[in-house]
């Protein structure tokens, strides 16, 4: 087998993320993904070029969008003969897509490609009532008037109620927040700790925008030039006033302030070989070196829905011969503040380490000043499939900004997902 090549991250782009029903209320997934791709193409000067692959996807998807990414490529400034495919893995979608492209790059199957993702909760698919759909399908097969009369008799008024996508697990019927509330209570994550993490996310993101960090990572869209979920003037006092929205309405600790809101947005990241980068005069920001996925059995109550990364990280560390402390940056997706805190607590907990991971020594604590230093999903919002590409681009640029990293410039990316999935990755300068 040939030697693996480096998968260099050369740049990223996203449109500012918008809370559901606001700035992008009339934009489709195709519109937003095309805008994110076009911004990336413009920044890197790739108009009219053919890339090896574009992989991406959306979580909330119309059936007509089965080829969403390919359609976006056709609508974008990229050459029309750039191949593309769709991936769908809940909140891990664009990290998995980026990994797919990076793996193709590493294997020598392509020299350059894009990983991307998009989601809208404002233009979500609303489907026919399932009962009505079955009647209509039978009507397609009907022969003669008698069959039609029979089918007419099957129509009921309640079949007019459409199928609306729900943020709930198919296997349990519980929403993601309700699942996380169970985990939060199990790990005894305090309201104060969650609010502090949320505040840090807003503070860090505001500072990043203010210092121009996103000048080459974001392109305005539909009049929005910053994430509209960002509240730079947020405070612990204002966060403390919010009522719990998940778990017990009295004693619960998860509020709208320390949970991510429904969000619209799109993000993309370009991955190529260092040779391709040199040939196109593009500086390399960082490299995607490895990744690991895991899943947990949340259905039977054995583990929390969003805890899979707690299992994936130790396996990845073992393979790379690293400790949890060998990182300069940690990018842990803030689905909920308590998700991050429960994951960190698990890595420090001897019982979890012994019983769940089957290991002797806990991974230990991380230096919290290295966590989500340019803000994360609590502040940006979380368009499910776009989050991975946002995080990869942010981490890569952060690493590229300094030469004096203690560990040479190494970031851990961790993203939990619906279905008990989780995907983690290592990015190095």
């Amino acid at each position: 087998m040939t030697e693996l090549r480096d998968a260099a991250i050369l740049g990223g782009n996203r449109i500012p993320f918008a809370r559901s029903g606001r700035a992008y209320a009339r934009a489709s997934n195709l519109d937003m993904l095309t805008a994110a791709l076009d911004g990336l193409v413009a920044r890197l000067g790739l108009a009219g070029q053919t890339l090896g692959e574009v992989a991406g996807g959306a979580v909330l998807k119309h059936s007509r969008d089965f080829n969403l990414v390919r359609e976006a490529v056709l609508a974008s400034a990229l050459a029309d003969d750039t191949p593309a495919f769709d991936v769908q893995k809940a909140c891990d979608t664009s990290l998995e897509a980026t990994l797919a492209v990076a793996n193709k790059v590493r294997l020598g199957q392509v020299d350059v490609g894009i990983g991307c993702g998009v989601d809208t909760t404002s233009d979500a698919p609303v489907a026919l009532n399932d009962d009505l759909r079955k009647v209509l399908m039978q009507a397609q097969r009907a022969r003669g008037p008698a069959d039609y009369v029979k089918l007419l008799g099957q129509l009921r008024p309640d079949q007019l109620k459409p199928e609306v996508p729900r943020n709930a697990e198919a296997a349990t019927g519980l929403s993601m927040g309700e699942h996380q509330a169970i985990t939060t209570a199990e790990w005894g994550i305090s309201r104060e700790a969650q609010d502090e993490l949320a505040l840090a996310s807003h503070t860090h993101l505001a500072a990043a925008w203010d210092r121009g960090f996103f000048d080459d990572l974001a392109t305005p869209y539909l009049g929005l030039s910053r994430d509209d979920n960002l509240r730079p003037d947020s405070s612990l006092e204002s966060l403390a006033k919010l009522s719990p929205v998940f778990g017990d309405r009295e004693t619960g600790t998860m509020t709208a302030g320390n949970s991510t809101p429904l969000t619209d947005g799109a993000a993309a990241v370009l991955v190529a070989t260092p040779e391709w980068a040199r040939a196109h005069d593009l500086p390399v920001l960082a490299r995607l070196v490895d990744a690991e996925s895991a899943a947990v059995d949340y259905v039977h109550g054995h583990e929390g829905l969003l805890m899979a990364p707690a299992y994936a990280v130790p396996r990845l560390l073992d393979r790379r011969g690293l400790s949890l402390q060998d990182f300069d940056l940690y990018e842990i997706h803030e689905a909920f503040a308590s998700t991050v805190l429960a994951t960190l607590a698990a890595w420090e907990d001897p019982e979890f380490t012994h019983d769940r991971l089957g290991r002797d020594e806990p991974l230990g604590a991380i230096d919290r000043t290295k966590l989500n230093v340019a803000g994360s999903s609590l502040a940006t919002g979380h368009p499910f499939a776009a989050t991975g590409a946002r995080i990869v681009a942010t981490a890569a640029k952060l690493l590229s900004e300094r030469d004096d990293w203690e560990h040479g410039g190494r970031a851990l990316v961790s993203i939990c997902a619906a279905g008990g999935n989780g995907l983690v990755a290592i990015i190095e300068k």
């Binding site: 413009a42 920044r43 000067g45 108009a47 400034a77 121009g212 974001a218 392109t219 305005p220 005069d281």
Partner: protein, 453 residues
């Protein structure tokens, strides 16, 4: 696309009504399209007097650009209409010599066709030691400006003053002024101050292989500049504020260039720009300072913030970036062998405008900036010039009240507003490699507007 009124009076019925009522009749101007001939037909090049030194150069330059050049007027049966008249007035040394202007134009002007080009070639009056010669050469300006107002059907008239020993610098300006690229340039005096040390550029793609930076490229005139430079072969780095990034990306992708989201008033803007161009493109050949803002108020009602913003963007940022380009090691390293800097001034900077004291101050400052830096830029093999647009049809003028807009549009010899591409073509010309004879000047693109003329 011409404005509605222009389209109406160029239509059968509209034309008849306009004739009847005596309304102005703006022509649809001939504009550059790739592949078109430089001139719409033959051009006659006339020696004004013995002792003239420029006719031969003019003939050679036009012939090299594929123009059919006539030394004398052909019979009207053979050539009913000429596309242009180039008159070498450099030999006119006395008041009585000026009669040559009458002799030629009295008969020839009726032979000029639509969108015709009159170019009078003269000397720099201040260089003429003999008082009579100085006066005669200075007279040309009044003559040309009048001809500009007499020409019909989109014709333009311009004067090119050529300094002693600078005749070879005439070719590029002459090509520009005879071509459709100068559709909205009329009644102007352009000075050729130095000979050209560069071979004539490919007339179709004069910017081939060159890298251009255009600020304020997200829309309007800036977008047209990016389009025009790219059409003529340049790789364009499109710069605009991060908040204008979506329009910027559209333009950058359209021209196959790169988008750089940058606030040009930031302290490190010059360094960021230089670093981007050096890394991505290796060299910077054309720097177009187009970004500008207006915050109109009469001076009594204008707060300091409006003043500071307009002066900061329209003048301060240009000075700072040019300082980086010319006086830092990184800046000088990225400049190509024959760099071109082109700034965008404004008619307001020449004529002044009520409610625009901040804007006019900044735009007049730009005229001073290019004059002041001309020698420094020449020292690194380049030129720095400005264009001063008059009434140009943009989103901004489209938002003006109808009466103000109509008035603004018609107050020039062509009775119409210019298009963003007209400004872009003039900038493109000043950035041609062989336009190296023109330095430190400001060229108006105003259709010979009455304001500040």
């Amino acid at each position: 696309m011409p404005d509605l009124y222009t389209r109406v009076v160029n239509h059968d019925v509209g034309q008849r009504i306009a004739d009847l009522v005596g309304l102005p009749k703006p022509a649809v101007l001939r504009r550059h399209e790739p592949g078109q001939t430089l001139a719409a037909g033959p051009v006659v090049v006339t020696d004004g007097a013995t002792g003239g030194t420029l006719a031969a150069t003019a003939r050679e330059a036009l012939a090299a650009a594929g123009v059919e050049v006539h030394d004398d007027l052909a019979d009207a049966q053979d050539v009913p209409r000429y596309a242009g008249l180039v008159f070498d007035a450099s030999g006119l040394a006395t008041t009585s010599d000026l009669a040559a202007l009458h002799d030629t134009f009295h008969t020839t002007i009726r032979r000029l066709g639509a969108s015709s080009r009159v170019v009078v070639l003269g000397r720099v009056p201040a260089e003429c030691d003999d008082p009579a010669t100085h006066a005669a050469q200075r007279s040309l300006e009044g003559f040309v400006r009048s001809i500009g107002k007499e020409l019909r059907a989109g014709g333009t008239a311009n004067l090119v003053e050529v300094a002693a020993d600078a005749a070879s610098g005439l070719a590029a300006p002459l090509r520009f002024l005879v071509s459709a690229r100068s559709a909205f340039v009329s009644g102007q005096r352009l000075t050729v101050s130095a000979p050209s040390g560069t071979a004539a550029a490919d007339p179709e793609r004069p910017h081939d292989g060159r890298v251009a930076v255009v600020t304020g490229a997200a829309r309007g005139i800036g977008a047209a500049i990016a389009d025009t430079l790219a059409r003529d072969g340049a790789t364009v780095v499109c710069v605009d504020l991060p908040s204008a990034g979506d329009g910027l990306a559209t333009v950058a992708n359209r021209v196959g260039g790169t988008a750089l989201q940058l606030d040009i008033t930031a302290a490190d803007a010059g360094a960021v720009l230089v670093d981007h161009v050096a890394r991505r493109h290796g060299h910077l050949d054309t720097m177009v300072h187009n970004a500008g803002v207006a915050r109109d108020k009469t001076i009594a009602g204008m707060d300091r913030a409006r003043w500071d913003l307009v002066l900061g963007v329209n003048l301060g940022a240009i000075e700072a970036i040019d300082e980086t380009l010319l006086r830092t090691d990184a800046g000088r390293a990225v400049l190509g062998a024959d760099p071109r800097i082109v700034c965008v001034s404004s008619m307001s900077g020449i004529a002044g405008n009520r409610g625009q004291s901040n804007y006019a101050t900044s735009k007049a400052g730009v005229i001073g900036h290019v004059a002041a830096l001309a020698d420094d830029v020449a020292a690194v093999g380049g030129t720095i010039n400005a264009v001063a647009p008059g009434f140009i049809e943009t989103e901004m003028t489209g938002a003006m009240p109808v009466a103000t807009r109509e008035l603004g549009r018609r107050l020039n010899s062509l009775s119409q507003g210019g298009l963003p591409v007209d400004v872009a073509e003039a900038i493109g010309f000043l950035a041609w490699p062989d336009a190296d004879g023109v330095n430190g000047t400001t060229l108006r693109v105003c259709g010979q507007n009455l304001l500040g003329a």
